[in-house]
């Protein structure tokens, strides 16, 4: 439940506001349009970097649906990502190398898994839900690692297009990311979005207004799983090889969350902005602090949490300047 006092304080200094501002959406779309030009740089590394950004952004949108809009903080999104990735690998072993088929199967399987698991874990709240989802992610990793049919820890290979046509993976990821952005935008403004937010704000009160919390929580989770699964499918195809440590990497779990938080959770623009900035910061750290960049990355997270607790999107809506910002930082002091 939200503490009225906290929210009120944040409101007074301009940190509140419901999501889905058309301006934010427009900015994201413009940036997305610019990203269409990336393959023309003919630099594989730049293309891969942006493909990763789009991938993490898609996952951040996925996380945002359940964690940002519905208020259920999931640490198990990597399971859906990995499952989506393995869909590509399995299809490739069946000689089906079609990105559309990959993504379609990944979406269906990830959503089905989310619904199945959701029936159990979405009964939990708060920390318990968070831990249960973390457990789901790790358990799936462990089970896949022990399945010979999926190559065990050795993994599986996926046939790829040649270097000349490699940008097809970039565009596929771009489309998946665009799908996630548009889906988030339209869902946020729809009845569905209001059901999610109502559940986040107060599940009991939402039920009294006729919202079936269980059904809508599962819907939110299935949507978020679809996004993660689709990103995983394209990732696997572009990677050419898949094994549990890659498919279920802790990075794929934590990066999207940090990105969504940095940008602003429960917003349409936040995950994308967060993904772009975090990737940029990581890039700079890798370049200039080879030996200690992880140390700095830890420091960046600590600073973001302490100084930008509601993300950049909110910060730029702040009224009242530095003083108001400083005041917002003490809201959660014990």
């Amino acid at each position: 439940m939200t503490r009225p006092s906290t929210v009120a304080t944040l409101r007074r200094i301009g940190l509140g506001g419901i999501t889905g501002s058309p301006v934010a959406f427009a900015v994201v779309l413009v940036l997305m349009a610019l990203l269409l030009a990336v393959p023309f740089a003919h630099n594989g590394y730049v293309e891969t970097t942006f493909r990763y950004i789009l991938m993490y952004a898609t996952m951040a949108y996925g996380w945002n649906m359940i964690g940002g809009y519905t208020g259920y903080v999931s640490f198990g999104q990597v399971a859906f990502f990995g499952i989506g990735a393995y869909c590509s690998a399995v299809l490739s072993t069946m000689k089906i190398d079609n990105l559309f088929a990959d993504v379609a199967l990944a979406c269906v399987v990830a959503a089905a898994f989310a619904i199945l698991i959701g029936l159990a874990v979405l009964q939990l709240k708060g920390h318990y839900f968070a831990i249960a989802t973390l457990g789901v992610g790790l358990a799936v990793t462990d089970i896949v690692s022990n399945l010979d049919a999926l190559g065990g820890t050795g993994g599986m290979n996926i046939s790829q297009v040649d270097e000349a046509h490699f940008s097809v993976y970039y565009y596929a990821m771009w489309l998946v990311a665009l799908g996630a952005i548009l889906a988030t935008y339209f869902i946020a403004r729809s009845k569905l979005g209001y059901a999610f937010v109502a559940i986040r704000e107060n599940e009991e009160a939402a039920a009294v207004l006729g919202i079936n919390p269980r059904r809508y929580k599962i819907a939110a989770w299935a949507i978020s799983a679809t996004m993660a699964g689709a990103a995983g499918a394209v990732f696997a195809a572009a990677n050419g090889h898949l094994e549990p440590s890659i498919a279920f990497s802790p990075d794929s779990n934590i990066f999207p969350i940090v990105m969504a938080l940095l940008g602003g959770i429960g917003t349409v623009a936040g995950p994308f902005i967060g993904a772009v900035i975090l990737a940029g910061v990581n890039e700079l750290l890798q370049r200039y602090f080879v030996n200690v960049h992880t140390l700095f990355f830890g420091a960046v997270i600590v600073l973001v949490v302490l100084l930008l607790p509601r993300g950049l999107v909110w910060l730029f809506g702040l009224r009242g300047g530095a003083r108001a910002w400083l005041k917002s930082l003490t809201v959660n002091k014990a």
Partner: protein
């Protein structure tokens, strides 16, 4: 409109990240640029640093001795590193960065089988030759890759030397128990050992795996103890090798010999266990006791190489050092023979390479794997790593059977 600054900031940071000056020195000048994503942080940091030392020692030596001659022109060498955080996909991403952004001429492998595999995929796609000395999993070489070469013996052979050695002793070991970590490399090692044992009249009485993250293996050891094996083998990493060795003592498990794929060769093994590390066998790619005479162009003997590592890095040369240096040497000889820096020509020269170095023979089979170099077996004798097998290169005799705990 308040989002504009955010977007602008995002674009700015990203642009700064990508457009920052990339390494200027490529072959355009008179330097051959190598690139390697290595584990400078993460759980393979230690091995990553050993790899880097191997590369750096070679670089320093070659530059101090004039450089590499390529068709009449002499080039200095330089190596660009990135930290792959011991993560497979990061390693691949960085390989792509080294090729497309830093325009390296050639790739030197990262540390580990997982990372080597994902980097090999990139090397293959970008048609840039890579020589690696730290990824022994055979799956890397069973893909039909044309641009990846491994100077080391494959994973399945890591424990063969120990098996062979115990079969040659009296009384010969008849039964073997195998424990292995669940990662791909360790599983290949374990499968190789089990296959060899079964094919040579030994009986595998216990064979089980544990997760990489295991913090306690005492129940595996209890089960293993029940089978009363002559030989106990472990395929894993340093962390779990220590866990297993401590556990064996704690439960007073007595066998004729104890062998590890990874562990005894790292000084940390003996320093962590003290006396309990004594008499343990370890399979190794190389030791400073091996008696090869290297071709001109680099330090010719293992002893001298060991001394050089000792002088530069103040620790005893480790086989990770040597195999990393050997990867550089493969390039050095192949480039000289190709007389060109053209990736295709160097690749062809690598495929045809047949040279003996301080590390042993470097020659690749059709898959790009150096199956011609035998593994060595080391034993920790009184705290000192002694090479005991194969006999023609040994500097000591194996102490066998192993005395009970407390008398080591």
């Amino acid at each position: 409109m308040h989002l504009r600054p955010t977007a602008a900031l995002a674009a700015l940071i990203l642009a700064a990240g990508l457009a920052a000056p990339s390494a200027p020195a490529t072959a355009a000048g008179d330097t051959i640029l190598f690139g390697s994503p290595v584990s400078l942080t993460g759980n393979l940091t230690k091995e990553g640093h050993l790899t880097q030392e191997g590369y750096e020692l070679w670089k320093t030596y070659v530059n101090a001795h004039g450089g590499i001659k390529v068709g009449g022109k002499t080039y200095k060498v330089d190596i660009k590193y990135y930290d792959d955080e011991s993560k497979n996909d990061t390693s691949a991403q960085l390989a792509e960065r080294l090729i497309d952004q830093d325009h390296v001429n050639f790739l030197l492998g990262p540390y580990g089988s997982g990372t080597s595999f994902t980097v090999a995929l990139i090397a293959e796609r970008k048609k840039i030759p890579m020589v690696e000395g730290n990824g022994a999993a055979e799956k890397i070489f069973n893909q039909g890759f044309k641009y990846t070469f491994g100077v080391l013996s494959p994973a399945r052979r890591y424990l063969e030397g120990i098996l062979e050695m115990t079969r040659a002793q009296k009384p010969a070991a008849q039964t073997v128990a195998i424990t292995a970590a669940s990662d791909a490399f360790s599983q290949e090692v374990a499968q190789g050992a089990a296959a060899w044992a079964n094919g040579h009249g030994m009986k595998v009485v216990y064979n089980n795996k544990y997760p990489d993250t295991a913090t306690d293996v005492s129940s595996i050891i209890s089960a293993l103890k029940q089978t009363n094996p002559d030989l106990i083998l472990n395929a894993g990493h340093l962390q779990d090798a220590l866990l297993v060795q401590k556990g064996l003592k704690e439960q007073n498990v007595l066998a004729k010999a104890y062998g590890y794929s990874v562990g005894p060769d790292t000084p940390d093994f003996a320093s962590s266990l003290g006396k309990d590390a004594n008499d343990v066998f370890g399979g190794a790619q190389w030791s400073d006791a091996v008696k090869y005479k290297g071709a001109p162009g680099f330090i010719a003997s293992a002893r001298a190489y060991g001394a050089a590592i000792e002088a530069t890095y103040h620790h005893r040369a480790d086989y990770h050092n040597a195999e990393s240096t050997a990867a550089c040497l493969a390039f050095q000889y192949a480039i000289e023979r190709a007389g060109s820096l053209d990736p295709e020509k160097v690749r062809d020269a690598l495929a045809k390479l047949d040279v003996t170095t301080f590390y042993g023979i470097i020659k690749f089979d059709s898959r790009g794997l150096n199956v011609y170099k035998p593994m060595v077996v080391n034993q920790i004798q009184n705290g000192r790593l002694t090479t005991v097998w194969p006999t023609f290169t040994a500097d000591g005799k194996p102490k066998y059977p192993t005395p009970p705990w407390g008398q080591r």
